[in-house]
């Protein structure tokens, strides 16, 4: 079995943003040489996740708005205190909670050297604590 690990960086334009990375994953799989297996897309962070959904702006807006409704930026969070380990005040609790809700990864089949996606499926890097340089992994495993 072959295992190919690639690292990608991304930087949002907003504090909260769904960034489509479908093409990056497709390209990584096609260049990996793996014909049949699975691909994992994994976030390297605790305030940014990986999710999949239909790649329409209206769907993206609903997802972002409803997550904000569930986990409002302006609310009371225990994490909002001075953190000596950072030297900063924790102001990103909503990001931690939203990233937990969407999860840190997705998994897709690889067949014939290509990612197998449903017709409406897109892959997103889900930024909930921007704006900063971020990292995610694409790991392809198979024959």
């Amino acid at each position: 079995m072959n295992v190919v690990l690639q690292t990608r960086t991304v930087c949002a334009d907003q504090e909260v943003q769904l960034i489509k990375i479908t093409q990056e994953v497709k390209t990584a799989v096609e260049e990996s040489g793996v014909q049949n297996g699975v691909v994992f897309v994994i976030s390297a962070h605790t305030t940014a996740g990986i999710t999949m959904n239909e790649g329409l702006p209206c769907v993206e807006k609903d997802l972002v708005d409803k997550l904000e409704g569930l986990v409002p930026t302006r609310d009371v969070y225990a994490h909002a205190h001075f953190l000596p380990s950072y030297g900063a005040t924790g102001g990103n609790s909503p990001g931690h909670i939203k990233s937990m809700l969407v999860g840190n990864h997705c998994v897709l089949p690889v067949q014939g050297g290509k990612v197998v996606l449903g017709h409406a499926q897109d892959i997103y890097f889900a930024e909930f604590d921007g704006i900063k340089n971020r990292k995610y992994y694409i790991e392809i495993m198979g024959e």
Binding site: A12, D13, R74, V76, A80, Y86, G87, T89, G91, I131
Partner: protein, 285 residues
Amino acid sequence: MVIDMHVHPALYGEICGDKERVRLRCDEMGYHLMSPSPLEVLDKQNAYAGIDKMVLLPLDHSTRCDGQVVITNEEIRTLVDLRPEMLIGFASVDPHRSDALEVLDRAFGELGLMGLKLNPAKQRFYPDDRMMWPIYEKCLEYGRPILFHAGLSWEPQTLCKYSHPLRFEEVALEFPALRICLAHFGWPWVQETAMLMIKYPNVYTDTAMMYMDSAEQFMEKVFRQDMGEYWLDHNFPDQVMFGSNAPRFRPVRIKRGLDSLKMREDTRRKVMGENALRFLGMEGK
């Protein structure tokens, strides 16, 4: 015009080439688990937050740091040259240096830096110590303001007895032409800072404070509970400046905290930029 008066560029990638030096800088300034990022990220952050300009603050406490200056005046000049429309550079000097006045002559005269940042708590001096008078006179000679750290400091090896607002009163009195900013509203001595502002028109402050809770909660506490509802609008609308204390507090969050406060629209314009222009001597330029 929105100006962030209080930014520490410790983690700007363009001055983070030397890893050992960055480690020393972060240890001295108390920044951990945060990584350097290039100015392109700052461009995005400011575009999103609606921030037009930022004042960059260096740190020279070399007499307490084995001769090392953790963010130099030259590094500030380098950054300003990369974003001249966005970045405004201040100087720093350790007042205990024997060549402090020469450092300032170079910073203002050759490097063209626009003001001086001093941190009494970190650099260990009392602002009203006569030792400081030549430094204040040098700033007056060049027409440069001073931004003092005031109140609580979270940096390692700091003592807040040096940065109590009352230790600045004699400076304000003896140097009425010198524009001084007691940063962080002098927190927790907010009322002492307010007292100095109503007494001395050359005293300014900034909003770089989110020591507990969220920015919205903290601003509400300071501007609505520690102070009367109309103190800002009616007493010192010309002396409070937006400042964030990045990277310790994220500018977009401090700005959001201020945005959540009810105040007159002309006061808001002043706080967000017009007061900074006057403090910096850039009014009408």
